[in-house]
Symmetry: C2
Subunit: 274 residues, 2 copies
């Protein structure tokens, strides 16, 4: 069963259709165990992806403040090979980045073959925060959906496997998490008046997300809506989606590794035979 | 009069329609003088582009071996401000570059606002040499025309002024230039058996160029065919085309500089008034 909701291309997305509180009928213990099993499988598939060197994997994580992007990355990285896996956090653009088109800085961080890149926020901020706060005029951001589609198609045509996750929490859950931060000393660095100010734009963010998910979902670069009120379920849903996308490549990667190994062995034998 | 032939979008390009020997009815002396005048104007416009900081300029230079890309760059750079002008030569891709989509390495070198980038060879090699020598299968390179159009549109939407020049020489002129290289000691570093081997693919290169010019010409990112048998005429034609594209921006850049200056002055006066 798929716990994350994969958007079908051509669907007009309404986030009200999804329950941020969903748990797939599992309790926390069973869900955490399953997430761990899938994490192990992710680690094995990721090793194959790295060794075969024929494909790249791009995981985009988006979600409103406190939705759990950092926690999701920690879960996935717990099973990943650091050598081939890179996390890129896209913050407020620098002057040099702003002097370029909005895809320039993300393109530079696209994963090479054999590599995994996780984007903690991404080019989608240029149709999310930028749209909500009108940082550029509508005629500029409205063209970006097509630019994103074309760019992601470019990556797909270069053997990049793309998954884009929108971590969905509700407004009450966000309030709980923000208040929790104030209580815990080790979360104080995350405190920001800005977070509370941004809450006032909640509905406009949802609207911007719906537009991005509607316009930028393709068969090969789909969005997944992830119920994320429960952290253990969020980890389970994301990991499952990643594993299910990678699994079909397994046999091809193994075949390639066997062929490469056979060639190396033959060369070694020829060398030894003098 | 326009000496370079700007391709109209939607035209099926046949290079046989252009005379590589054209001289615009000028002699070398008059042509060289005019190229110098236009070069001066290019330098002024380029200063304004840099100071206004609202636009980027991308000049793509393509042409068969010995067609004069280096010489054209030397001519233009003679009038340009080094601080804002960068030449990028795209050679045989490195393993890291090959591990990415074909636009990854060029996107990283796209000019920021206020900057000029000259591409000495470019992403077009991925539909030229790559197509001629079948370095990737047809289903891969055939998709690249659309990717190029989308990427160039992205730059244009981010205020990049794009000019793409195909320097056209004929096969006899190439032979003369290759033989000249063998005679001159200071040109010996350019000698390569490969150049003579590539001549055997002359017709296939022309065919690949015609496809690129046909598929990737848009109103805002046009190709220009430049008669390049005569070096002085080639310099004149390229410089003229660049100046004619930049000239319409002049008044807007000046207005912006005036506005910025007036603001700075007002701030300074407010500061002094205490």
């Amino acid at each position: 069963m798929a716990y994350a909701h994969r958007i079908k291309p051509g669907t007009k997305v309404s986030l009200a259709d999804f329950d941020p509180d969903a748990d797939g009928g599992l309790d926390k213990e069973a869900g955490t165990r399953r997430a761990d099993e899938l994490g192990q499988e992710f680690g094995e598939l990721e090793d194959l992806l790295f060794e075969a060197g024929t494909h790249s994997l791009l995981i985009v994580l988006q979600g409103i403040d406190t939705s759990g992007k950092d926690g999701t990355i920690r879960h996935l990285l717990g099973y990943a090979n650091v050598q081939s896996c890179r996390v890129n956090s896209f913050k407020v653009p620098t002057p040099e980045e702003l002097a370029h088109d909005f895809l320039w800085r993300v393109h530079a961080k696209a994963p090479g073959r054999g590599e995994i890149a996780i984007f903690n926020r991404s080019h989608y901020e240029d149709v999310l925060v930028v749209r909500v706060h009108e940082l550029v005029p509508e005629p500029v951001w409205s063209k970006r959906y097509a630019h994103i589609d074309a760019w992601e198609r470019l990556l797909v045509d270069s053997n990049t496997i793309i998954l884009k996750f929108m971590l969905l929490i509700d407004k009450d859950e966000q309030e709980r998490r923000l208040l929790d931060r104030e209580k815990e000393v080790q979360k104080a660095w995350k405190l920001s008046v800005g977070d509370w100010k941004e809450r006032e734009f909640w509905d406009r963010y949802l609207e911007a997300y719906e537009a991005a998910l509607t316009h930028c979902t393709t068969e090969d670069a789909p969005w997944y809506v992830v119920p994320a009120n429960k952290k253990w379920f969020r980890n389970l849903a994301v990991t499952e989606a990643v594993v299910e996308r990678l699994r079909p490549y397994r046999s091809g990667w193994l075949e390639r590794l066997e062929a490469v190994g056979a060639k190396a062995k033959a060369e070694l034998e020829a060398y030894r035979a003098g």
